[in-house]
Amino acid sequence: MHPNLSFEQAPPISVPYRFFLAAPWFGVLAGVLLAWAGGDALGSRWTPEALALTHLIAAGFMLQAMSGAMFQFIPVAVGGNVWRSLLVANVVQPLLLLGALLLVAGFLFSAPVLLRAAVPALLLGVGIVVTAVLFALWRTPATGMTLWTMRIAVAGLAVTVLLGSLLAEALARGLPLPLIELTNIHLAWGLGGWALMLVAAVSYFVVPMFQLTHPYPLWFARGFGPALLLAVTAWSVLWFVGDAPYARGVGLPLALLCAGFAAMTLWLQFTRRRKVDDATSLNFRVAMLALFAFGVSVAAIVAFPELADDPRATVWLGMLAFPGVFVSTISGMMYKIAPFLNWLHLQRLGAPISAVPNMKKMISADAMTAQFRLHVLALLLLLASVWLPSLVRAAGIMFAGSCVWLGWNLISAVNSYRRFRDQIRANVLRC
C-alpha cells in the first residue's frame, strides 16, 4: 500500500471549526469569573475559584482547541486518517463541553454531585478522542518525530484525565487518597505529558513551515519528547512513593526542558529566513517567552524552596503556563489554521484558483494584531495581579475582553468562508 498524499482525507471543515469556535468562550468565562471573584480568588491554587479557573482553561479552552487541531493536523501532517471524524466529533464535543462545565461548576460551588457527574462525561469524551486519534496515529505509514511526539502527547492526555477522574471521585466521596501528591502528578501529566508535548510535536512541523526557520536540530527533536516523558514519569513515581524532596528535585530537569524548548524555538525564530511578522509568529514568541519564564521560575523554586512558602508562587506558575504559554500558542495556531482551512476547502469547490480569495481575506490582519495586543496586556495584568490583588478584577475583565475578540475573529473567519463559498458556487453554476 502506498501512502495517500492528497488532502482528500482531511475532515469536513465543520469538524475542526466547532472546536475552535467553542474554545475562546471558556476563556471569556474564566475572565468573567476572575472579575466577579476579585482579589481572594488567587490567594492559593486550592481556592474553589482557582481550581475552576484552571479547569476552564485546561479542560475547556485547551482541550477544545487541541482536539480540533488534532482532527485537522493528523491527516495533513502525518497522513493518518481519523475514522469517521464527523461522527466522532458529533459525539465527542458535547461530552467534552458538558464534562468541562460540570467540572468547573463542581469546583466553584464545592458540589460533589457535579464533580461526580463530570467524570463519566470527560472519561467517555476523552476516551473516544484518544482511541480514535491513537488508531489513526498508529496506522499511518509516515515516520518522524512529530508523529512519535504526538503519540506520547495523546497517551499523556489519557493519563491526565484518568488521574483527574480519580481525584474528582476522591474529592467528591472523601476517599482517603493523598490528594496533594496526586494533584502534582495530574498537573505534570496535563502540562508536560499532554499540552507541552503536543505543542512540541506541532512545533516541529509548523514553526519551520510558517516562519521559514531552520528545522529543529535532529538531536533536539529526538531527545526532547522522550526526556520530557522520562522527567514527568520520574516526578510521578517519586511523588507516588512519597519522596517529596527528591520529587521536587526532578523539578529542575523539568524546568530545564521547558526553558530549553523555549530557548530553542526563540533561537529558530530569531534566525529565520522569513522577515514578515504576523499574529501567529507574535503569539508564538510571547508563548515561548512565558515558557522560558516558567522554566526559570520553577528552577528558582527548586533552588530556594522557601519561595514556595508563599502559596502565590504556584499561582504565578499557573498564570505563566495557562494564559501565558497555552492560550498564546493556541491563539496563534488558530489564526493560521482557520484562514488556511477556508482556502483549502474553497479551492475544492471546483472554481479556478484565481477565483478563490487568498488567506489574508479570511480574517482581518488588523483585527488579529489588535486582539494580540489586548491579549498581551491582559497577560501582563494577570501576572501582576498574582502579587497585587487589587488588579485582579481589571485583569479578569481584560482577559475576558481579549477572549471575546478572539472568539469574534474566528466567527468572522467562518462568515468569510460562507460568503466566499456562496459566491463561488453561484459563479460555478453560471458557467
Binding site: 502506498h2 498524499l5 492528497s6 513551515m209 514578515v276 488556511f340 487568498n358 488567506m359
Partner: protein, 145 residues
C-alpha cells in the same frame, strides 16, 4: 549522495528567495520585489519541471505506480503555478495586500507539498532509483537554472 538530495536542497534555496521577494514587496520596494519574485518563480518552475520530466517518470517506470503519489504532486504543482500567476498579477498591479495574501497561501501550500515529498515521496524514489543516474541529471538541471 542520494538521488533526491539535489531537490531536497533546492527546496531550501526556493524558501530563501521566496522570503526575499515577500519582504521586499511588504516594504513597498516593488523594484527589488519584482527581481526577487522573477528569480523565485523561475527557480520554482525549474524545480517542478525537473520533478515532472525526470524524477516522476523514472519513478513511475521503475515501480509501475502511475496514478499514485506522483499524480497528486503534479496536481499540487498545477495549483502552485496558478498561485504564482496570481502573485505576478498582484505585483504588476502593485497590490500589496493581494501579493501578501497570495504569497502566504503559496507558502503554506509549498511547505506542505515539500514536506510530503521530503518525508514520503523522495524516500520512495531513493529506494526505487538508487542505482540510476537520475540524481545526476536533476543536479545538472537545477545547476543550469
Amino acid at each position: 549522495m542520494s538521488t533526491t538530495q539535489p531537490l531536497f536542497q533546492h527546496h531550501k534555496h526556493c524558501d530563501e528567495i521566496f522570503a526575499d521577494a515577500e519582504a521586499a514587496c511588504a516594504n513597498g520596494d516593488w523594484v527589488a520585489g519584482a527581481t526577487a519574485f522573477a528569480d523565485f518563480a523561475g527557480q520554482l518552475e525549474t524545480h517542478f519541471k525537473s520533478e515532472e520530466e525526470v524524477l516522476f517518470p523514472a519513478f513511475e517506470s521503475a515501480t509501475g505506480m502511475v496514478s499514485g503519489p506522483t499524480e497528486v504532486m503534479r496536481g499540487e504543482h498545477r495549483q502552485m503555478r496558478e498561485l504564482l500567476a496570481q502573485m505576478k498579477q498582484a505585483l504588476d498591479e502593485r497590490d500589496g495586500d493581494g501579493f501578501g495574501g497570495t504569497a502566504e497561501t503559496l507558502l503554506i501550500m509549498m511547505q506542505q507539498h515539500n514536506m510530503k515529498e521530503e518525508n514520503i515521496l523522495y524516500p520512495m524514489c531513493d529506494n526505487a532509483l538508487g542505482a540510476s543516474d537520475v540524481g545526476a541529471t536533476i543536479a545538472q538541471r537545477l545547476a543550469g537554472a
